[in-house]
Symmetry: C2
Subunit: 412 residues, 2 copies
Amino acid sequence: MTVALHDAATLDAVDPLAAYRDAFVAADDESIVYLDGNSLGRPPLAVADRMTQFITESWGTRLIRGWDEGWFEAPLEIGDRLGHLVLGAAPGQTIVADSTTVSLYKLIRAALAARPDRSRIVIDRANFPTDRYVVQGIAAETGAQVDWIDTDPATGVTVADVAAVLGPDTAVVVLSHIAYRSGYIADIPAITAATHAAGAVVVWDLCHSAGVLPLELDAWGVDFATGCTYKYLNGGPGSPAFLYVRAEHIPTAVQPIPGWMGVKDSFLMGPDYQPADGIRRFISGTPPILAMMPLSVSLEIIEQVGIDAIREKSIALTDYAIELYDQILAALGVTLSSPREADVRGGHITVDHPEFPVLISSLWERGVIPDFRPPTGIRLGMSPLSTSFTEVRRAIVAIGEELIARTERSNL
Amino acid sequence: MTVALHDAATLDAVDPLAAYRDAFVAADDESIVYLDGNSLGRPPLAVADRMTQFITESWGTRLIRGWDEGWFEAPLEIGDRLGHLVLGAAPGQTIVADSTTVSLYKLIRAALAARPDRSRIVIDRANFPTDRYVVQGIAAETGAQVDWIDTDPATGVTVADVAAVLGPDTAVVVLSHIAYRSGYIADIPAITAATHAAGAVVVWDLCHSAGVLPLELDAWGVDFATGCTYKYLNGGPGSPAFLYVRAEHIPTAVQPIPGWMGVKDSFLMGPDYQPADGIRRFISGTPPILAMMPLSVSLEIIEQVGIDAIREKSIALTDYAIELYDQILAALGVTLSSPREADVRGGHITVDHPEFPVLISSLWERGVIPDFRPPTGIRLGMSPLSTSFTEVRRAIVAIGEELIARTERSNL
């Protein structure tokens, strides 16, 4: 390769978002190179104080009155903020609650219920395990059949892949927007339109896209969507998921886990389940108020920066990672398992090498923290708000050094 | 009534648990009389610092490594601590995850799956709304039939009530241990035995009993149980539920929301769902690690005090509330809707009066915070660790004063 190697320090110096690294705990700790913010984002610096304030003031002194003073509406209110800042969703279609897995279960069941005369579910084999397991479970319990799409594992699902399996009995298509391994971006508008043309509805898993690139769920015609908030949305380990249902589906939507917090009047405690008119009907149990606090803080940062600027830096980071791959790793036999074209590439890339399953622990020991994805992938996740170009460079140099060291040892 | 009125200050002075009030935020704030700890318990004082430590150290600097360093096991480990200290459950049968509603859904579905040749679900009409709605929803989706028990609303479900509806087609019985309105304690051992004798299994909702009286799930033969952790377990608003499955059921148990965190090897990311051998199979999505922190702290307090001492004070508090009711409220036309006998009475009592729906807001305005339960109930919840006898006295005096004031105004 003859591409000149950009200087990481220069890229950091001209990075318009560089100052936002200071908004996160320990992001300036040079003993760690953290390239796994797409698995667990760093805590915003303001979270600890905000949590203390919440515990000592809201929970501690308002006590049960907190429910009347905002908590009851919090899952919808934070959902609307997320909808506005991140999802491209008008108010009244998004809640924050449950885990992504539980949300997927509710949405796929609701999607099937919306097409009662159809019984086939489409999903791809490269989808995240939870998505596949939930679909398999729902198929087993409802008698639905699954149409599996085989995609090129290095890329992701295309509209042609989906169109090839859509049929008159297709009820619902379940796909991830950004492939968790390759980082490939599926074409939501085109796949959603093709699905609708076949009379089916689509459930989009946005785990790897929410917070790292602009989404336009309303404009794209998306029916149902969910995703986690602990990756690019910095909600903390096991923070609750978000769940989106297109306005037109809500009045007739049926979800399988009816609960007292999702009814017209929770404190009437009536004899029969009367679902709330709006998106509240998708709430089951008491919403995780305390666990939403970090997300609420990180949305303030996203509001300041704007999702377009985040996407711009995300592309610069992954472009730079690929430039370094070409310069350092390609010659060492490492393959790039992610798209080179920025417009179909999310916020992470995966590189593969047969030595990576054993090499990953050496990286972690030296404080270089990417993720490992079987069978042989190292996944480099770059959180635009908290990752520096220097970190990207140090990670890829470290991978190269470890590979060379292993080769030298095996040649002795 | 000729019972002498105990002096609240004296009762507080001799209360062996009085010092533990200092272990909770703002419990010494005399401007508030808080009798709703059975709806939302106070935060333990240590929670804010522990949360800050977790955010800045565990999440902030260990980052994704936290999953390898304890978080992955946390739902089981905190579950085991809860099992030991609160539930009477040997290790390996309890997890902390999801909301109570989602847990109920999983357990009732698992219970039905354990009795595939039967199709009837037994539940009582006085059960908490979520329990009833979940049963109705599952019946609608599976074709199961519901046998409704009508109980005396002032008490609760008895073994005779259950025996009267059990039959050869009964698959599962769904009941609350302590009635959310009356505080009546159902006889878990007898009802569980009767259910087993009929060949069915039982799902116990422990929301109003966990943390306020000794439970012996293993000894009582309980099959499945769940409950929330934000009441007497002080986990914070919307904190995750606990879920118990008896060891003998686990190897064959099927729950309806399979997820990647509940399989044999989460990071294998295999093609098919292979449930973990143990209780982990009931985990669906990524567990709410941050949201478990307060519960972890409050379990330390329970470990110091012991559940027997907690129950002893709980009985003293409710005995005293009934003594004050007799002295002050009975003559004002208020009815007692809870048992007088301590052995069948949980940690709260409910009193009813036609004026209570309007009177409750006057109480809240003067800083006296019980709960309201329709149609005409004021529910007085007493958290043994954080409620004083003085608070009980002030609450009942305040109810009496407000009733008298309303009567005087209406006589003008």
